[in-house]
Symmetry: C2
Subunit: 362 residues, 2 copies
């Protein structure tokens, strides 16, 4: 087992990464301060892991809330089910919420913890590769609004995160690939050596070899933790973590939450951002090809959905949280392995890239 | 005009207190960082003050959301109207929300600001005495849940607060009295000299003399600011601000939100807490009489609602956010002008006080 410490002063916490971590009550119980524990999971994950996880909390007042599965349920109304559960069981400020599931469960449980009685503790047990590498670091929690993704939320750090590679064996291939998209992101935005490691090791990741997975998780979390530690509230450098995401959010919103997996949209978004970086003269077309090849090897899409048109795409991109005064700031590649925040590009270049994806023959 | 600085490090902010402050754009605009301003108000306050306040923001992209008036609308569903307004008008992270109204508008607007895009700026223009002395200091924001008051929320500090005594002229008498209840609280919990000032000056406050009001607001805010600065997240001393509130919340929840004004419930709660402090031997019965007399002079109720019974009251009190492991901790008076947090009282004493209120002949 590897332990990675996310360094955020008095909000620091460890991420435990490895195999067979979910049988060890001694790993998790030191991070629970009161007696009341609420496991929040969903209808897909709970049948697989709830009983096993419940065993970790003998001796606690254990309750649970099982949510419907899917991004389309990540809203205020379903969030209210968590508050209902907490209040029905008289949970007080010393309680701990445990998020057992993927990114949606993690974001919603984290936000419920951030807002219940103005803030209680929570622990993350991410069960997808995406949530292990992404939502387990950084403290971003929240829900979607009909008019925009992740528009309601808070920064709230967990007490600890347990990333067990064993749980990835029950992931379907599409979910695995979606997680790998975020792994590739860390290589592209700031860690070229990791990107170079990924090229020959992609087959091992696709075969779910525990050592390769653990290394990819650790390296991604470590890369992210460094950025988050330097910029907890996203005033500068942290925005680079959104590499590919402005395009991705437009795809997810445009297609309706849940039809494209987040990581699938991110894969296309990263490619679009690379193509734009190339058009602006920052990177070579050879590098764009390498990125495209790596994404294809990971079983990821490399083209935006044809149902969307350019005008819709631009409108949705303008709603991005990084937008200030109507200008869509984009995270682009200054060079391979180095992202930067760009707001002085010609809109024609962006439209050109969108046209390539949305209207070119398939 | 008096300026009181609430000292919270990089979250410090000023409270401006005085007459005729709402005609001065130069007072408020330095606290607005972007171009987008959303005034949130309610159907009672907006007709009185919206036009006047809107004049302060010429040159900004000004939008508004007008909520229904009342504590019963302080919930997630009505909160969503604020998010709808922000998203419909493409408000970004640099926007500022302006709360124009009483405590409900302030709490909801503050919570919308805390949670929209994980946190944007807000400014408070409290229009009731209660919100001027109470919710303008401390950063507590949130909404109610059907199962408990203020159960969903966040700590989020405003950029500035403008407490104009002129707006109190449109308050009805019941609202004025409810505000005075919180003023009396500051005297009782930690400022005996202020309590002694209040006794001869209550008639001036009831006549709404601007100088007396401004002094009472400033002294209350200053007392509260000292406590909040020492304990921003309510781990210890800040709980003393809840003097009378555990009883009060039981009354408000038991009677249904909005039937009793918060300050009215606090008045009875403070008296019950004083009676309990007397029964436990901390203060003299003469002091209890003084408190009761001051509350009566302020036109406040001094008896709990007869519709409630002891069992219901105890159950509701146990849901209080200060409760840990089922024990209802109470803020009581160690002596006049000095509150403390007590959890080792005999439940019989509490029941005895409840019986006095709920079953004694009126």
């Amino acid at each position: 087992m590897k332990t990675l410490n996310v360094d955020l002063g008095d909000r620091s916490y460890p991420i435990f990464i490895g195999q067979d971590l979910l049988n060890d009550a001694a790993l998790i119980t030191p991070y629970i301060h009161g007696k009341q524990v609420m496991i929040v999971s969903n209808e897909t994950v709970a049948p697989l892991y709830f009983e096993k996880i419940a065993l970790l909390f003998s001796g606690f007042d254990l309750q649970s809330v099982i949510l419907p599965d899917g991004e389309k349920f990540k809203n205020l109304s379903i969030l209210n089910q968590i508050y209902d559960g907490l209040l029905t069981h008289n949970f007080d400020r010393s309680c701990t919420l445990v998020a057992l599931g993927g990114g949606v469960v993690g974001d919603m449980t984290g936000y419920a913890a951030a807002s219940y009685q103005r803030g209680v503790n929570f622990i993350q047990i991410p069960t997808t590769l995406l949530s292990q590498v992404d939502s387990s670091v950084g403290g971003k929690t929240g829900v979607n609004h009909a008019l925009g993704k992740n528009m309601i939320g808070a920064f709230h750090q967990p007490q600890c995160v347990i990333a067990d590679t064993d749980v990835l064996n029950t992931l379907d291939n599409r979910e695995l690939s979606a997680g790998i998209a975020e792994v590739v992101k860390y290589g592209l935005l700031g860690d070229l050596a990791f990107f170079d490691w990924l090229k020959p090791n992609m087959p091992a990741l696709m075969r779910r070899e525990p050592k390769a997975l653990a290394y990819a998780i650790e390296r991604s979390c470590s890369d992210k933790a460094k950025i988050v530690a330097a910029d907890e509230k996203e005033s500068g450098q942290r925005a680079l973590l959104n590499y590919g995401h402005t395009f991705a959010h437009a795809i997810e919103t445009g297609m309706g939450y849940g039809r494209w997996l987040h990581g699938e949209a991110v894969a296309v978004g990263m490619l679009m951002a690379a193509q734009m970086s190339c058009k602006l003269g920052f990177i070579e077309s050879q590098s764009v090809n390498e990125i495209q090849q790596l994404l294809e090897n990971a079983g990821l899409p490399i083209r935006a959905p044809e149902e969307m048109d350019v005008a819709e795409f631009l409108t949705l991109m303008a709603k991005d949280k990084k937008s200030i005064a109507g200008i869509t700031r984009l995270v682009l590649l200054k060079k391979m392995g180095q992202a930067f925040l760009c707001d002085d590009y010609a809109t024609e270049v962006l439209i050109n890239i969108l046209n390539q994806h949305l209207h070119a023959p398939s």
